[in-house]
């Protein structure tokens, strides 16, 4: 890789259209955007749902969708639509928050490995290799066995699972940039380490990292929902798509609507972020697209 900034600059010159216009002109990008807007507005407008997501109403349990309960009700008679839109908050907050945190951890580790002494680089690589060698769910189960189930445990799992990936990419870019002429020149005129990192290294690697992060969000949503499904993530009564799905699975012979309500939003957001990520990559980083 010669200079990671190159493809970005080239496409800019060729296509003066705005980034959003280019994204929307790609059908996949448009579909992704629509699905994400749907999820985000559900999360933002969750408080306007007709019902309280925790309100029990045992008389009306296992109801099919009606005009009042748009997705039906669950095994305790709670309104599923309201639980799903409140679940969107949890899903988005955890996936975006945990991804941002993994990105920061990955950047710091990658810069340390790339600029630091050789032994530190080797140690970091080995630890990251070891972390990636533990199957994701096994790592999560092991950690949660020790920490107990909580929202923070989920975030920790995500950072341990995704952080090393960002660190690796950062490290590769840093190693390539470290000996680039413009960095040498900066150093020659007396620029200090923080200046080189914040003004030269970060702007060069942030683009590809953010695209990867967008593509990782569905994976993180999957981890959160999966752990909540196993009863090891978000604790009830907080509505999470994973717990809705698990309740639905437990009562699958009584009502199909709980499973539909818990699974569909996971599918919708996973597809939304994946489509958007694909379109972003094709639009901004043709070099990555070839892979």
């Amino acid at each position: 890789m010669s200079s990671p900034a190159e493809p970005l600059a080239k496409t800019r010159r060729k296509a003066p259209k705005s980034a959003l216009a280019r994204l929307v002109s790609d059908p996949l990008g448009l579909a992704g955007l629509v699905l994400i807007v749907l999820t985000v507005s559900a999360a933002l407008l969750a408080d306007f749902a007709l019902w309280d997501p925790a309100k029990l109403n045992p008389v009306n349990r296992f109801m099919a969708p009606t005009g009042l309960h748009w997705l039906g009700t669950d095994n305790l008679g709670r309104d599923l639509f309201s639980r799903v839109v409140h679940g969107a908050r949890i899903a988005l907050a955890i996936s975006i928050g945990a991804t941002a945190l993994s990105l920061i951890v990955g950047l710091v580790l990658g810069i340390l490995a790339g600029f630091g002494p050789r032994w530190l680089d080797s140690v970091l690589l080995l630890v990251m290799d070891a972390m990636n060698s533990i199957p994701t769910v096994m790592l999560a189960l092991l950690l949660i066995t020790y920490t107990g189930p909580s929202l923070w445990a989920v975030v920790l799992v995500v950072v341990l699972v995704n952080g090393p990936g960002y660190a690796r990419i950062t490290r590769t870019h840093v190693l390539a940039l470290r000996s680039a002429d413009f960095i040498e020149a900066e150093r020659a005129i007396g620029a200090r380490f923080p200046r080189i990192v914040f003004f030269h290294v970060l702007p060069n690697i942030l683009g590809p990292l953010l695209i990867l992060a967008a593509m990782d969000i569905p994976i993180v949503i999957g981890i959160e929902a999966g752990l909540s499904f196993l009863g090891m993530g978000v604790r009830p009564p907080t509505p999470s798509w994973g717990t809705i799905l698990f309740d639905g699975f437990s009562y699958i012979r009584d009502s199909v609507w709980m499973v539909v309500a818990g699974g569909l939003p996971i599918v919708v957001t996973a597809l939304g972020f994946t489509f958007l990520g694909e379109a972003l990559r094709d639009t901004f980083d043709p070099k990555l697209a070839k892979r």
Partner: protein, 314 residues
């Protein structure tokens, strides 16, 4: 070749040792008595005392780590705190069911994945290519446990085509109960394989030897099969190697949803029962399995493609 094998094997061993060390650190990082946190609240006092003596918790920390390594190398992963059976024996009794599930998932993924990848690459940019690439990313995006539950709902509960739970009796019964979990686990890998193969085929198709073959008037079918696919298939071996390892994660969910025995179900039940030695033991065994499969895939590639081992040992 020998130098490469030695190097790759050493790396795998170092990684496994690092994982063991990381697990040891985790055990000690939890506040309170590390023996109690390692064995969980269900362990008897006698068991706790025995474990304390075995690992020598009064010794300096590095000596404890050495003893921990020693015990694991001897195959001693501790005892089931409920039944007292050695952990390794419990895990090995569950492993075949999980391996069968992974094999089933692989057989679901490999042929359609290769077919889609080859056809998409040979009709690059066409309608088939575009549709199959959207389908590929879609199946990759949706978590396997969501697919598993929907398959259970549609094909077992609504249509009644497949039995819902258990591993089944006899060959026919086992195979019948393997279908849905294998699809749930393998579906995403159709996507991964077809994408990797498509990209790698396009790369090979742009190479000089393919252009030369074309100039010699060799038929397109022969070129695709003999000149392109034979080389382009190599990266899919790496992906398959990773896939088998990562399927262990998916297997946990598939086993729970379809009520199958296996290591996933084992670890899930162990957490519910606070049977911690089973949890750590399973993590260790599955991780070793994962590393070994990766090692085998890498060695296989080096064996099939001399370019790889030359680049790496140089």
């Amino acid at each position: 070749m020998l130098a490469y094998v030695a190097k790759r094997v050493t790396l795998a061993i170092i990684v496994i040792f690092t994982v063991i060390a990381a697990m040891f650190v985790m055990m000690h990082a939890v506040p309170g008595d590390p023996v109690r946190s390692a064995l969980g609240p269900r362990a008897s006092e006698a068991m706790i005392e025995a474990y304390r003596i075995k690992l020598g918790f009064d010794l300096p920390i590095w000596e404890q780590l050495l003893r921990y390594y020693g015990a694991i190398l001897r195959g001693d992963l501790g005892q089931d705190v409920i039944s007292g059976t050695p952990v390794l024996r419990v895990i090995l009794s569950q492993l075949p069911d999980t391996l069968m599930l992974i094999a089933g998932a692989m057989s679901v993924a490999v042929i359609p994945g290769i077919y889609l990848g080859v056809v998409a690459a040979s009709r690059r940019g066409g309608a088939f290519d575009r549709v199959s690439s959207v389908l590929a990313v879609s199946v990759m995006a949706v978590p396997s446990f969501v697919i598993a539950i929907y398959l259970l709902l549609i094909f077992s509960i609504s249509l009644g085509w497949f039995p819902a739970i258990g591993a089944g009796e006899g060959v026919a019964g086992k195979l019948q109960r393997l279908v849905l979990p294998s699809i749930a686990l393998g579906l995403a890998w159709i996507g991964y394989l077809s994408r990797i193969l498509r990209a790698s085929m396009l790369e090979v198709m742009a190479e000089n030897h393919v252009r030369t073959a074309r100039a010699f008037g060799i038929s397109r079918r022969k070129i695709m099969h003999d000149y392109v696919l034979r080389i382009a298939i190599l990266p899919t071996i790496t992906v398959l190697g990773m896939g088998i390892g990562q399927m262990i994660s998916g297997a946990v969910f598939a086993e729970i949803v379809f009520g199958r025995p296996g290591v996933g179900k084992l670890v899930y039940d162990a957490i519910a029962n606070r049977n911690y030695p089973i949890v750590t033991g399973t993590v260790l065994v599955t991780t070793t399995f994962f590393v070994l499969i990766g090692l085998i895939a890498d060695l296989l590639i080096a064996f099939l493609d001399p370019r790889v081992r030359n680049v790496i040992t140089r």
